[in-house]
Amino acid sequence: MNALDFYALSVFLIGLGLMGVFLNRDFVKILISLSVLESGVNLLIVSIGYVRGRIAPILFSKELQASAVGKVVDPVPQALVLTAIVIGLGLLAVGLGMAVWMHRRFGTTDVSELKDLAG
């Protein structure tokens, strides 16, 4: 996979997610699009950290520890994405909580019907 592949893939996911959020009427589908958007951004972050020809940032041997700088990929994007994924998860949980509540109380998850609901 060369440069364009990973970057293009992440931008594609971002674009897809954005369109999904704008165009969908069902709240659950909007949530799914949001997840796609977030995955796209996370993928982008990780692929930014990649360096050709290097290994994962786990220095499992003494020799590796001594001369590590030119040998491993960037550990920071991986840490960032770890956090970002969990944050996205938290958001998704709240969103789904809203969706479940909406469905239980009003019987629908269609956001265009929100204005017409009684309550």
Binding site: N2, A3, L4, F6, Y7, A8, V11, F12, I14, G15, L18, M19, F22, L23, R25, L44, S47, I48, Y50, V51, R52, A56, P57, I58, L59, F60, S61, Q65, A68, V69, G70, V72, D74, P75, V76, Q78, A79, L80, L82, T83, V86, I87, L89, G90, L91, A93, V94, L96, G97, M98, V100, W101, R104, R105, S112
Partner: protein, 241 residues
Amino acid sequence: MLEGINRKYDISGIIASLVVLAFSGLLIYLLYTQIPYGQDKMLVSKDYIKMGVNSTGATNLVTSVVLSFRGLDTLGEVTVLFASAMAVGLFLLPGAGMWQREENFVLRVASRFLPYLIILIGIYIVSQGHVSPGGGFQGGVVISSGLLLKLILKREKESGFGGLVHALESLMGAGFVALALVGLVKYGSFLYSFGPKGVPGTLLSAGVLPVLYAFIGVKVASEFVAILERFTSSGEEDERA
């Protein structure tokens, strides 16, 4: 169905698509020219790689970044999860009978031994987080999946169970902050990674880091169970004015 979508979203849909398309093109152009793929673009990471093992004792550099160099982000992440669990508890009222499932042969047999295996793997992932890929969050999620498999066949809601997960969540979160405060009070900096460094690469190394991961693991596992319990409980949503 199709006609409803077309009529409502035609113009705005087209505009939105065009904007997103243009933006994506711009993004790709920028990425391709400004941030060369596969090249060494590290700045602060070079120092992380140089000093990570010696200062924290963890051979997994990502762990040393997550828990030591950027420990405050991890605390924030833990907080986000906690807040979302609380929020879900706010929206969805508890109901009767969470785990009501049809008797299913495969499920019944599998749930006798599979959950324990899964939980064991989860514990392994949590405890090895500082020497191999893994850590509190990843392992915690695996543990929670094992727990849920175990609980999925319970017919009545466990009475003391809800309380246990909430207590665990809260205690682990508070414990994390407490350990961070120890760093502040005793060593002068919040979230300072103290504790015996040990031999890097072994299980008992990296000082307080595996403890932090253990806290996170338990917290995440109990949080997930609590959240999913709320989702599946069939509560009557009454007026809360």
